[in-house]
């Protein structure tokens, strides 16, 4: 519960003598450490390496990224990008001009990403919660299943996704073999990695990769539900389905809120899956925003435009996160940071 912590909470200090920083009553902040240590620069010293690196890898690059988004930075200026001509808001104007090709493609890619994210996150949650509930009780084979479910999570992304790419091959893939040759569900073998089907392929691979994480988090959360709740419900005559509906699912709410946000951010930003599945340029139906920006920057070498798109993406993510945190923390008092 650090939400109450502000650097200027000094007005409590008067209550207790001989304390600095006013944190005297707040037991969370080491009341019994000698004052000289608290007053010293030790915490800053401990933080120094982390702060320097944060500046180096996050803050400065972000500032440069924003700066570049206002420049006309193409391949001719890469060696000397400090001197690239200013572009004003042109990169942004082009990016959000939805009638022109670049803006249109960006909007399309954004919408594809939204649809992809909603589907993948929703289904991941559904599979995760089903698996967690089904494995809540102890039975023979439980730990084996638990290990099996974690395999997609443990495999390196590119090794797993390249296998999926193999499975989706037109002539020698297992998917067409089952759907066409064995079950006869399709007239002829489908193309999965080009055309409209590529969206389905992408969702399936993403789902396969992310549901085990939902399962992991939800399973841990289920173990914190007190057993007596179920016993009491059972004595009152509630069947197992009712218990799941009335006890299990409501107890998961706080975890679900964290989980959905984390899954959303991961899935929305995912680069690895589409890149390994489709390569440098994805088919239009599966053109996720991260690939799209990569393509604009490193394939067509327009860094200014790519940066502007990155900044827009960032603003969107911040907005969504803020709204989400606002909605989910309403009615809950004292949320974590």
């Amino acid at each position: 519960m650090t939400a109450t912590v502000t650097p200027s909470s000094g007005h409590q200090a008067g209550a207790v003598e001989k304390t600095d920083n006013g944190g005297a009553r707040g037991r969370r902040f080491l009341p019994r450490i000698p004052d000289r240590i608290r007053q010293g620069g030790l915490p800053y010293l401990l933080l120094l390496p982390a702060v320097v690196l944060e500046l180096l890898i996050h803050i400065i690059p972000m500032v440069i990224g924003i700066w570049v988004s206002f420049r006309q930075l193409t391949q001719f200026f890469i060696r000397n990008w400090g001197n690239s001509p200013s572009a004003g808001f042109d990169n942004y104007k082009v990016a959000i001009d939805f009638d022109a090709p670049i803006g249109q493609a960006l909007l399309h890619s954004f919408l594809v990403t939204c649809a992809f994210t909603v589907l993948s996150v929703g289904l991941s949650w559904l599979l995760g919660v089903s698996a967690a509930i089904m494995l809540q009780e102890n039975f023979r084979g439980r730990s084996v299943l638990r290990t099996i479910f974690l395999v997609p999570y443990a495999l390196p992304v590119y090794a797993a996704v390249i296998t999926w790419a193999f499975m989706f091959q037109h002539d020698n893939g297992v998917i067409n073999h089952v759907l066409h040759d064995q079950l006869g569900l399709t007239d002829k073998p489908s193309f999965w990695l080009i055309g409209n089907n590529s969206f389905i392929a992408l969702v399936i691979v993403s789902l396969w990769k992310s549901w085990p994480f939902a399962f992991l988090m939800l399973m841990a959360a289920l173990q914190n539900i007190p057993r007596d709740l179920y016993e009491a419900a059972s004595i009152d005559g509630a069947g197992i389905w009712q218990q799941i509906r009335k006890i299990t699912l409501p107890s998961l709410r706080p975890v679900n809120q964290v989980l959905v946000l984390v899954l959303f951010l991961w899935t929305f930003n995912d680069f690895n899956t589409p890149y390994v599945l489709f390569g440098k340029s994805a088919p239009e139906a599966a053109d996720l925003i991260s690939i799209h920006i990569y393509q604009s920057s490193f394939v067509t070498w327009n860094f200014g435009s790519g940066s502007a798109m990155s900044v827009l993406l960032l603003l969107f993510l911040l907005l969504v996160t803020a709204v989400y945190l606002f909605i989910t923390s309403r009615g809950r008092k004292g949320s974590d940071v």
Partner: protein
Amino acid sequence: MSSPRSPMAPPQSFLWTRRVVLTVLAVFALLPVYVMVSSSLKPLQDVSGKFQWFPTNLTIRPYFDIWKTVPLAKYFLNSLIVAGSATVLSVVIAVFAAYAVSRYKFRGKRTFTITVLSTQMFPGILFLLPLFLIFVNIGNSTGIELYGSRAGLILTYLTFSLPFSIWMLIGYFDSIPRELDEAAMVDGCGPIRALFQVVVPAAVPGIVAVAVYAFMTAWGEVLFASVMTDDQTRTLAVGLQGYATQNDVYWNQIMAASLVVSVPVVVGFLLLQRYLVAGLTAGAVK
């Protein structure tokens, strides 16, 4: 592990649902693994033709060929160095930072934690571009070639492993009773000794979890690896693409190589999953 949920035995409807759901999920989870293993044991003409559920001509040739078709051993070493260094660096730096945040009150603490938390949600592509430009610039002006070097790649990997490590370790250190290190300091330990003799040993499961997770993420990273490496520093993530040539796609070798690069992390993960699961949930679910 857990006691039965209720005194009543679950009804048949639940048991059947459970059987069906769990079977479907297990098949879904393992299907690619089966394809990977079985295809890695087939000769090229078999993986190029119609898919066969069971290899008719078993061979272990692909496992020898993978090292020759592409310099897999070199990529392996690169991945090991880059992922290993990024992991060690971020965990060590994060231990200090998390200790400061967890045990001290100081100005700027909230700014620091919020910065760390928020950079975790930013897409990698956001940092890729500017880091690329910075590396090019440093190379031009000082002659230090970060672009294409292992050191440069390690630095870019910190963009995701450092905030994650700091964030998880703060949660972990918070769960260790303060009384422990306070007592050590009352006994005359300095704060740094208290950190290493009391807090770090008590947090071993959390530190292991963070390290495993950071390593796994770095081992599977594709974005930075595909832009920031050259022939000499290529990691596995990019190197596996080498099995697809203009004439042939050596699917059997791709599957064999995928299996070989997966084994270290999967084994590590399964051995340490207890810590990892506990660590992940302690940090995230609190």
